[in-house]
Every structure is written in C-alpha cells, then in structure tokens.
Amino acid sequence: MTDAVTLQGVTKQFGDVVAVCDLDLAIADGEFFSLLGPSGCGKTTTLRMIAGFEFPTTGSLKIHGQEMGLEPPNKRPVNTVFQSYALFPHMTVEENVGFGLLMKKLGSADIAERVKRALDMVQLTHRAAATPKQLSGGQQQRVALARALVNEPEVLLLDEPLGALDLKLRQAMQLELKDLQERVGITFIYVTHDQDEALTMSDRIGVMNEGELLQVGVPQEIYEHPTSRFVADFIGEINLLPAVVVDHETVRLLGNHPISASTGAASGNEVTVAIRPERFELYDLDEPIPEGMNRIEGTVSRRIYHGDVFYYDVDTPAGVIEAKEENRPGVELYEVGERTIVVWAPAATSVVQE
Amino acid sequence: MRHSRLWRLALLVLAIALVAASCGGDDDDAVAADCSADQVDGDLNFYNWSEYIDPELITAFEEEYGVDVVESFYESNEAMLSQLQSGVSYDLVVPSDYMIGIMITEGLLLPLDKDAIPNLENLAEDFQAPPYDPNLEYSVAYQYGTTGLGVNLDLVGDAFTPSWALVFDPALTANFAGGVSLLNDPRETMGAALEYLGYSLNDTTLDHLQEATDLIKAAKANIATFDSDQYDESLVNGEVAVAHGYSGNMIVAIGEADNPDQFTYILPEEGATLWIDNMAVPVGSQAPCTAFTFINYLLDAENGATLTNWNYYGSPNAASEPFLDQEVIDFYAETANANTEVITDTGSYEINFTDKLAEAKS
C-alpha cells in the first residue's frame, strides 16, 4: 500500500527566509497525523504545500504516489479545514457544503443528497438555510468540516481547526474528530501548536521547529522518549539537567553525581538529561529506597498546591528539580526547608543531545 | 513581460510621432471649398461670442435648410484662437479685426467661396476693403461696435469727465460703491490703460505696456472684477458703479433696466476701441458650404436687421438699413465722430498683451 502523502526533500523559501527545510515525511493511508510545533515553525507552510496554496521551492510532493508539486489546489484530491473556517459569508450553510460538489459538476439531486448526509453527520441539518454569521463558533467549525468531508477527499488537512473554540468545546470536539476520522477512514493531517490536542488524537506526531522536522513517532514515544532538547521541552513539563556521559549506562550530573541512564553517546559528551516531574518520588532521608533507582539529595525550596497535585522545587547539587506528587490521602507532605531524597527510575531518564 | 522594454517602445513611438507632427504640421493647405448658393453639407458648429445672435435667427435657419446649428461660446478672441490651435474644429467663427489678421497668417482660415455668398453685395462700402483682409478673401463683417464705459449716474454723479479715469484713477474710484469692472480681454483692457496714459492702443513699446500694467495694479483695490460676460448686469444691478464693456450689450441692458435714466454709456475722450467682428470659416470645417450659406443668410437685408435690432450693435449690412430701429442708427451715427481707434495685429508683440494682463490681474 502506498503512503497517502510523501514529502521528499521539500524546501520552501520566502525570499531569504527558509520556512521549511529539506523535509522528508511519509504519512500512511488512514492515519491521523499531527504536525506539532510553535507558531512559525513551518507546520502550516507544510500543510499549505500539501493543499497546493504554496508551491515547494524544491523537492517532491506526492499524494498516493502521484507527483502533485505543481498542481493547483483545485486539482488535488485533498480538502482543507481552515483555522478561521473560511466559510463563504455570502452563501448559506447548504451552499457552503455543496460548493465543492457543484464545482465538480455533480447533478443537483446528487449534491442535495450528499449535502444532507454531510450535515446529518455533523448534526447541523436544522441550520442548512442559515448563513455562517448566524452560527456559533462550534457550529461554524462543523460546517467547515462537513464542507471538506462531503467531497470524500483522499486526505483531509486541518489547520488548527479548534484554535478558536473555548476549552470545554475544544475537548469535546477533539474526541468527536477522532471518532469521525475512525469512522470515515480518511487520512487526517492535523496542524496544531497544542501538545494535548496532538497527544490525544494522533496516531503519529511530527514535531517541527524552525522549518525542520525534529522527531516523528507515536504520541507515547514522543512524550516518553524525546530525542532532542527541543522536543523534550516543548511537550509537557520536564526537568532538563546538564550532564556528562560516563559510559553506556551512566551519566554524571552537576555536583559530580552519577546516575544510571541509557546514553547511546560517546563518553565525555555533554548532554542534557530530561525527566518528567511526575516520575519523581520524594523520600525521607531515613526511608529505604528500592534497588536500581536513581537518587539525589536536596532541600525543598518551594511547595505549590495545585488541586490534584503538589509541585515541589528541590535544590540539589545537580540544580533545581521540579517534582510532582499526587494529592492523595496518605502521601506525606514536605515543608520548605526540609531535606529529602528525590528518587526516579533509570528508564524514566531520557538523555538528549543539544 | 518586460515593462522596461514596453516603456521604451512607447517612448520611441511617441518620439517618432512628435517628430512626424512637427514636420508634417505645415502641409495643412487650405483647400478652397467649392460650394453653390444655398448649399448645405452638414450641421453647423457655430463658435460665437455669447449672447451675440438672436436665437430666432438660428431657429429660422435650421427650419429653412434642415440642418442643426450647434452654438458654442467663447469670451475672448484669444480663447477662440487657442481652441482652434488645439485642433478643435468648428465651421464658423466670429473673430475681431486684428484676430482675422493673425488667423490668416496662421493659415487657420478657409478662403470664402464668393459664389456661395451672393448677398456679399449688400455689404456697406466701409466694410468692402478692411485693412486686415483687403480683398475679403477670408472674412466678412458680422457686426461692429465700440468699447466704452457704462456709468451708474446715481453712484458716480452727473458731473464727471468722460475719461478712462473713471476706472483707472484710484482717487476717483475709491468713492464708487461696489467699485468698477473691467473686461477680461488682453487687447481691450491693456488698450484702455494705454489710452489713458496717452498712448495708442496699438502701441508696441514694452515700457509703455509695463506702465499700463502698473496702472491697473494700482487701481486694483477698486476693481471688483475682470469680467467679459456679465458686466452689463453687474452695472444695472448696482453691483458696480462703472463697467467697461461693449456698446450693444450696454445699450440693451440700460434699456431694459428698471430706471434707464440712471445709466449712460460713454466713450472716453482719450480714445476708445472701434471694432469689427467678422464671420470666417476655419480650415478644419466639416461643413464649409453650410457655413457659407449661413453667412449669406445673415447678409440678407431683413436677417441682418433682425441681428442688429436684437443686440444693438452696428450693422455692416447696407441693405438692412430700412429695417433697422432708428435708435441704433442714431447711436452709431454719433460714435462715428468720436475719438476711436481700431485694434490692429501687432505680430510678434501680440503675446505681451496677454502676458501683461495676467500680470496686472494677479
């Protein structure tokens, strides 16, 4: 089976600015793929090149094996859901949804039938005659979705489609989108800067920064095993501690403190150790610590109550470590100024190069 | 598409065109039109001074010959000349004496086809051989008149000397409520100032003309407007006390005023303009035969009288005399003895009059 979308050595320049640099990416058929990164990282440009709104400066862009680099958007089997929805303000919901089919010169009965089905799918049949201005944000978003899906594209491109919605609605829509994607079985390419969104919905995630694709993987892999400092830092909360590689299984933190971690780098290299706050446990100085765990002693310098969890800042020779402990009956609280031992598993330790 | 190349191309075309035009501009040979009496060859574009012809005459002509007469107006000989020089084509124009000379020199006029104008014989003897067109090759007199001053006796008083001082002497004009109005015409207005200074209105000494310019400038505080169109109304409405203007318009306006005795028209003793306006056919005419027929029509005895009785200018048409209002005949008989001068073409000096009027006005 061919991949839905293949990018090979794609570079996009705007004047002197390189927006996307030598991108290689293959997205499988039926996959929910997210492009994640901060604004200006090139993810939207990549999406727009797939849609045909921008043309690559160099490189090859294929959709289902067909070279598409030069095709105008109207000749591509993809459809887009825009960030601002881009609903035609002078047309009704029905006309908006039927626009693509009309352009494809389908019969009017056929169009009416398919538009109805699409509106049923997004539960907006009752607003068919409304204009976009009369709809709420969430409803507009559904219209935009229906307008794209009604054409049964091979690939659906979504450019931060939930960005304009409020938190509750956004979370509900995330699940709905994921559901929908599984139901229709179309390849989704989803652009977002929201890591939660990407982690929740995606089959795979590609993290971009400054025009480069840094890491591609399933959500867990990206979260648990970032391969670069940027990916580690961008996704979730994380402690980044400078270290020096000792051997395959050991690195030395500041304060000459050795810990176990799988390194994969030559000894003597300066690296960064990345550990999620929720991976730490705090122990009393006299408490027994399980075998094989990494540990470092320090002083609690701050405690913040956060409802479901407590955050602790612990001053250690290796630097300030942020730890997160669940707010559960029976969990011991540490006071500011108290000595404690921070404990974590070697497997929870990612070693990343700069 | 390379715009720079297109630009260059456009400029090249333009340059060629300009050269072509400057070389080919002189071969506009005035080919005489061959017409017969009462022949018409299209609608008549008539370029005339405003309020210079009885509309009834035009309507009658249109009905008789089945053509349209489209009238356009100008307010000075110079304005008319500039239109013709720009290439706007008319079929009939009415330039004054000196302007006929200029237009002949410029090659702007079509020779008259005298076969088409049998009524030429009606022309009075005085107008058979004017100095600017001795053989009537290009023009034939339309009307004549004088340029003088209309005076509001209520505002000026009865005891005044008929002099250009009435408009140029600030000491005098300062007493006139509303001030005075002067014609917006280079030869007439500069000429009046020259006369007041004791020179001829055809004087071609630049120093004298500068003196005249300074004179107008000094008098300007009391000059309400430079106006060639509605000085007569301004006078009878009391807007101005003294108005510089043409005899016919003045007489008609005074005659129609609520109190005609309150006004008078005078010719300054230093000398005033006697002018003759003439009908002529410009070179670009599209309907020269209609134009000749129209000229012939106006030279008819009764039509000529209608013309004069409507605007009260002097008639050059001897045959019209029996049909004229006695008032007009008497008036122009009087002016025959006045101190008047005809404006002549001063050739290359001409341009100074327009330049200096502009300077005086500003």
Binding site: G59 | S82, E106, F226, A358
Partner: protein, 296 residues
C-alpha cells in the same frame, strides 16, 4: 508527472514555474488598464513634459524645436512667486480652517453610539455627494449683494454684505467644498481608536486635556495628515471655486495655468507650470506615505 525514483530526480523548480504562471496571469489582468493608462495618462504626461521645453511662436503656436529651459526660468519670475505664494497661503488657510472645524466635529460623531454615528455620517455625506459646481454656485446666491444673507443683515439694519468676488468668498467656498475630505479621515482615525487607551491615561492621573494631548491627538495623527493632504492638494490647484466666487479678480495657480492655455496661448509655460505644481503635490504625497500611511 512521473514519480521521481531517487533524490536526484526531485523537481527543483516547482515554485519558480508556478510563480511565473501566476505572474503571467497578473500581467494579463493588469494589461488593459496598464495599456489604457499608458496611452491616456503616461503619454500625455510625457507630452506635457516635452512641451514644457518647446518654444512659443509669436502667434501662440507651440513649436517643437529650439528646445530650451525658458519656461522653467520663468517660474522664478516674481509674478509666479506671488501667485504661487497666494495659492499656497489660501491652501494652507483652507486646510487649517478645515482641520480646526473638523476635528471637534469628527470627534463628536466618533463618540456617539453606533446608530447615531451612522446617521450623523450619512448627513455629512449627502451634501458631499451633490454636484460640486452646484454647491459652489449656491454660495454665489447666498453671498450675493442682493442675496439672502445680505437681505438679512439689511433687515436687521446693517450694511449690505459685499463678500462676493473677495478672497473671503473663495475661502468660504473652498472650505465648504473640501471640508468632508478632512472630516472623513479624521472620523475614520478616531473611530478606529481604542478608547480604552484614553481611559488608561485617565487612570494614570492624566486630566482630560492631557489625556487628549498625550493619547488621542497622537493616535489620530494619521487622520490629520491624510485629511490635510486631501484638502491641501486640490485647493492648491483649485480652479472652479475661485472662478465662481472670486470674480477672476486675483489670480491663483489653477486659473493661471488655465489662462496660459486658453488665453495667453503659452503652452510651453503652462506645461512647465503644470509640471511644477504636480511635482509639489507628488512631494507632498510622498511625504504622506513616508509618514506611515498606506492608503489614501
């Protein structure tokens, strides 16, 4: 559309080709208006430029030979300077009066509620959309010696008003004709303004006047500049208003240029004058765009 098999075969110039295609379409769409404006605007402009170096014959014909700079030399004539200065002063006075009257006016409209604002604005537009000549002519009726204003003052026992054919009349006419040009940009600038900034200034201990001086005025400056340019440029070359209300008594630039063509028949000098006036306006406009404006 054959798929490349290896990295060497990737299409290298996709974008360049697409841009060429788009650019070709753009040029095609621009072409008709480009051709029209080249023929009926750019070439006429060049002709005026060419004429300004030509000589005038004694009968006022323009001779396209003996090229010279006489017409430009004549621009330094004190007479021209006097006329230019007078036009300039008149244009500045008109602009200043328009600004002084319009600012509070636009401010008032911009601070009404949305409905009132729209009605008030339409009321500004209505006279503005009527024929310019008619509006100017109306002042001739109003200011005439036997006009309504004069009759009113006489009924009140005063002197008849003699404003017609004075510089004051021209000034009134110009202010009347161009006032909306000042009102609209000022209104646009004030309406667009974030009024919370004024509140912030008041919150930070500025009194009403200081808040205006430090916040409102600087923020409305683009409107002030746009309005001033839009009033200044046409009044500097005004022809119709002085002709109707000024009685041809004093010469202004517009009238002077027209008279060079229609009376003095000095096309080279008239052309040079036109070029000079145009250059001044071009400079003013460039200054305007330099000041950060993006649109007229």
């Amino acid at each position: 559309m054959t798929a490349p098999t290896d990295r060497q075969a990737v299409t290298p110039e996709l974008e360049a080709a697409a841009e060429r295609a788009a650019s070709r379409r753009g040029v095609l769409i621009a072409l008709p208006s480009w051709a029209y404006l080249s023929l009926f605007f750019a070439i006429p402009l060049v002709i005026v430029l060419v004429y300004s170096f030509a000589t005038r014959s004694s009968t006022g014909l323009t001779q396209l030979r003996d090229w010279n700079l006489d017409s430009y030399a004549r621009l330094w004539d004190p007479l021209v300077g006097e006329i230019a200065l007078r036009s300039l002063l008149l244009a500045i006075a008109t602009t200043a009066i328009c600004l002084a009257v319009s600012y509070p006016f636009a401010y008032y409209i911009a601070t009404r509620g949305p409905t009132a604002r729209n009605i008030l604005l339409v009321l500004v537009m209505i006279p503005f959309w009527s024929n310019f000549l008619v509006r100017t002519y109306a002042w001739r009726v109003l200011l005439g010696t036997d006009g309504p204003l004069s009759q009113l003052t006489q009924a009140l026992g005063g002197e008849p008003i003699r404003l017609l054919f004075t510089n004051t009349a021209v000034l009134i006419g110009l202010v009347y004709g161009y006032l909306p040009f000042m009102v609209l940009p000022l209104y646009a600038a004030l309406e667009r303004m974030d009024w919370r900034l004024v509140e912030a200034a008041r919150d930070l201990y500025a009194d009403g006047w200081t808040a205006f001086r430090k916040v409102t005025w600087p923020l409305s400056r683009p409107g002030v500049i746009a309005g001033s340019i839009l009033v200044f440029i046409p009044t500097l070359g005004a022809y119709v208003t002085p002709a109707i209300l000024g009685g041809a008594r004093t010469t202004l630039l517009g009238d002077y240029i027209v008279s060079q063509f229609l009376a003095a028949r000095n096309q080279p000098f008239g052309s040079a004058l036109s070029i000079a006036v145009m250059s001044v306006m071009l400079a003013a406009t460039i200054l305007y765009f330099r000041s950060g404006a993006r649109n007229l």
